[in-house]
């Protein structure tokens, strides 16, 4: 079932550092790639998303880099803060398909 592979499983970063989470997908029909942030006991919250017509999208400290030929995309968190400590999920879907496929998640810990 899994069509999106996410790495690493866990990540520890010092405050102020850059956090990088990677995802790879299999289905070339996917055309929407969001990232979700989930805090313990909460539902996933949409963080940022990209479509394959652009190679990068930046919103504040969060940047998605997209490599269509490699079928990979990544989330970069600049100036990581302890409040960013959460589990991050990448996902992929295609227009008209309501079944969004999620990666297994990356638990990010930002140390003060």
């Amino acid at each position: 079932q899994q069509q999106v592979k996410q790495s690493p499983q866990s990540l520890i970063v010092q405050k102020g550092g850059i956090s990088i989470i990677n995802c790879a997908y299999e289905n070339t029909a996917f055309d929407y790639f969001p990232w979700y942030q989930q805090f313990p006991g909460k539902g996933p919250a949409l963080l940022i998303a990209i479509r394959p017509d652009v190679s990068e999208k930046k919103e504040g400290r969060f940047t998605i880099s997209f490599n269509k030929s490699a079928k990979q995309f990544s989330l970069h968190i600049m100036d990581s803060q302890p409040g960013d400590s959460a589990t991050y999920f990448c996902a992929a879907s295609r227009e008209g398909d309501n079944d969004m496929r999620f990666g297994a998640g990356t638990r990010l810990t930002v140390k003060p």
Binding site: P34, G43, P44, N98, M100, A104
Partner: protein, 113 residues
């Protein structure tokens, strides 16, 4: 602006029992999707409801069923509960079917004992 609301937040059921979970979509949204998130895993699509009909279904058995009401709220029903059904059940809403931008509620934690 109310987000996606779900109830109950936590519940414990016994194997073989039935459970009903409820969801109200975000204001202005008419489409509801349900996801199952096992501990340590990403969410998995169960099904989606739009215009009171099931529009698409993921790889889940018929024990999982749902309903959407005229006010767009939705229910997820699971019959003959198994221990493996223990998970966080997430409701997500969107502006319309086929739209990728979905917003999740905080989920209902189901424990089957």
């Amino acid at each position: 602006d109310a987000g996606v609301t779900q109830s109950p937040t936590h519940l414990i059921k016994t194997r073989g029992q039935q459970v009903t979970l409820r969801c109200s979509p975000k204001s202005g949204h008419d489409t509801v999707s349900w996801y199952q998130q096992a501990l340590g895993q990403g969410p998995q699509f169960i099904f989606q409801y739009y215009e009171e009909e099931e529009r698409q279904r993921g790889n889940f058995p018929d024990r999982f069923s749902g309903h959407q009401f005229p006010n767009y709220s939705s229910e997820l029903n699971v019959n003959a509960l198994l221990l493996g059904d223990s998970a966080l059940y997430l409701c997500a809403s969107s502006f319309t079917t086929g739209t990728n931008t979905i917003y999740f509620g905080e989920g209902s934690w189901l424990t089957v004992v």
